[in-house]
């Protein structure tokens, strides 16, 4: 273990940042001789001890295949695996565990819906609607679907602040729209979209809605029932859980009507060469041995986040965002990309005369981890006429002092490049 980082005490009341930071072993190390400042949470968040230990505990005591054997370990593994399904249901306020499908991550969840629902319910002349700010994983599966079915992909634009133009959305929606796929929070801009209203508008047009919640679940309380969405996708690893596990929520009536996606064990009731009967929900969509340890770790991550309270996390992160945004406004030669009025804790920016990759290297030298590049959202980069941006994305363990470190390093980059 390295040197603990001293932290600012200006946190929201109720969130004990010193204690929280002690929960994350990876934070306590030096990078290039400086205490690590991890501001790449939008790409993947770090894991608390509780998650790491839960996975070790599962492998040390209870591992076996799930839903397979009568033996004790198989039963324990199954209990842990299914127990988390109930946690996930409660976490996103779904009605039933039948609506919670384990997948590898958000990308797989979207591909599942595009393939299964899309193949069954989207045809030629139909339209699929996405927005200009989607992550590639919420664009390409729909392009593939449109290629297969001869449907048309429509794109809702955003304005120069990074807010969706809802009048255009209203215009594009029509009786041919079958699916609307929108992100709740933009990974490149931080924009929080008014998905609840957008879902109601889509339903009025007779379309179903998939919400990409990958960037939303770590930052805010999500209620799929209140949103009234048809599908909701998120990943464990951005929620302080393991990589390789994610969740697809689907309205039960829709999941029932959809054909299976992948075939194999687990997803069947009876297999005969003259016809196979599929398993009930949610197992119909869980072919093969799942990532049981990932699910167990996801459960621990949900417990951890829920234990701290998403309202407090949101409040803390909003303070960080407000502070970083104010400092950015004072920094000469710095342009923030994504200035929506409602934002999650993501600060995308560029510096005059310095390519984002060079900024990333200088920041890394100061021990600061940020994402540089197109953030898998190349249409967003094109909109702003930049090849890439630097993105600082904050998490529940970040501090005001770390934002000071970020801006100190930005000063150094500007000094080095003579800007």
């Amino acid at each position: 273990m390295g040197v603990p980082t001293s932290v600012s005490s200006s946190a929201a009341p109720g969130l004990d940042l010193d204690a929280i930071r002690n929960d994350f072993p990876v934070l306590h190390q030096q990078v290039h001789g400086h205490p690590l400042v991890y501001l790449d949470n939008g790409a993947s968040a770090q894991k608390p001890e509780a998650v790491i230990q839960m996975i070790a505990d599962y492998y040390c005591k209870d591992h076996a295949n799930v839903h397979r054997g009568v033996h004790t370990l198989s039963q324990r593994a199954t209990d842990r695996y299914e127990g988390v399904r109930g946690k996930v249901r409660d976490f996103i306020h779904a009605e039933s565990t039948n609506e919670i499908v384990y997948v590898r991550g958000t990308t797989e969840a979207i591909n599942l819906v595009a393939s299964s629902y899309g193949q069954a319910f989207v045809g030629p002349e139909d339209e699929v609607l996405v927005t200009e700010m989607e992550h590639h994983s919420n664009i390409v599966p729909w392009q593939l679907l449109c290629e297969r079915t001869n449907a048309t992909l429509k794109v809702v634009p955003f304005d120069d602040r990074g807010e969706l133009i809802l009048d255009r959305y209203r215009d594009i929606l029509n009786e041919r729209t079958r699916i609307v796929a929108i992100t709740q929070v933009s990974n490149a801009l931080g924009t929080i979209n008014p998905v609840r209203d957008m879902i109601a508008m889509a339903h009025d047009a007779g379309a179903v809605v998939l919400v990409d919640g990958a960037q939303a679940v770590p930052h805010m309380s999500v209620d799929v029932t209140a949103l009234d969405c048809d599908f909701y996708a998120f990943s464990g690893h951005k929620l302080y859980g393991p990589t390789g596990i994610g969740v697809l929520y689907g309205r039960e009536s829709l999941l029932d009507a959809m054909p299976p996606w992948q075939g194999g064990g687990e997803m069947i009731m009876q297999v005969r060469f003259d016809g196979t009967e599929y398993n009930e929900l949610p197992y119909k969509f869980e072919a093969g041995t799942p990532d049981i340890a990932g699910v167990v770790g996801l459960g621990a991550a949900i417990d951890y986040v829920a234990g701290l309270g998403l309202d407090l996390i949101d409040e803390h992160e909003q303070q960080l965002l407000a502070y970083a945004t104010a400092r950015a406004a004072e920094q000469s030669g710095m342009r923030v990309i994504g200035t929506a009025s409602d934002k999650a804790a993501i600060l995308s920016f560029e510096l005059d005369g310095i390519h984002p990759h060079d900024v990333g290297t200088v920041l890394d030298h100061e021990g600061i981890a940020v994402r540089t590049g197109h953030h898998c959202a190349m249409p967003v980069m094109e909109h702003f006429g930049v090849p890439a941006t630097v993105r600082a994305s904050f998490g529940l363990y970040n501090t005001h002092a770390e934002i000071d470190r970020l801006f100190g390093a930005i000063d150094k980059a500007q000094e080095l490049f003579g800007q």
Partner: protein, 151 residues
């Protein structure tokens, strides 16, 4: 900051600020496009190669970081007037320099100003920035039609 100066040497900063041989080449007879999907950078290399296989003119165009811009700029200075065969030797030597792979290093070749880019070997994520222009040049010489990708 001191070891950052090893990467961002003054020659690199200079070529980044004022890239040499920048812009398209109207009578180019060999061109290729290079693309770094990791960062979204793109560049074009334009060549005029005469009947004796000598690179009479070489230019580049595109957007990139300081490392990729400086590398492309120094490459054009190095290769103008050299044969296509020489260009291949420089390509091999430069890749060896950038990756720190001493085994394939051609000791007889004077890399000259290209040496300033040897700092990238300490930055694995940045090696591709330095080699993109060279891979693109090679594609142009070989007449490859598909854009070069670093990933």
């Amino acid at each position: 900051m001191s070891d950052l100066r090893e990467l961002y040497q003054e020659v690199i900063m200079d070529h980044n600020r004022s890239p040499r041989n920048y812009g398209s080449l109207e009578d180019a007879n060999r061109t290729a496009e290079g693309f770094n999907p990791l960062c979204g950078d793109q560049l074009q290399v334009y060549l005029y190669v005469n009947n004796d296989a000598i690179i009479e003119e070489v230019r580049f165009e595109g957007k990139g970081c300081a490392i990729s811009t400086a590398s492309a700029s120094i490459m054009t200075e190095t290769l103008r007037g050299r044969s296509a065969e020489d260009a291949e030797r420089y390509f091999q030597a430069f890749c060896a320099l950038a990756t720190g792979d001493g085994e394939t290093f051609d000791q007889n070749l004077d890399l000259g100003k290209l040496e300033v880019l040897n700092g990238v070997r300490e930055y694995p994520a940045r090696v591709k920035c330095a080699t993109l222009a060279w891979h693109t040049l090679r594609a142009a010489l070989r007449g490859d039609k598909t854009p070069v990708k670093t990933e």
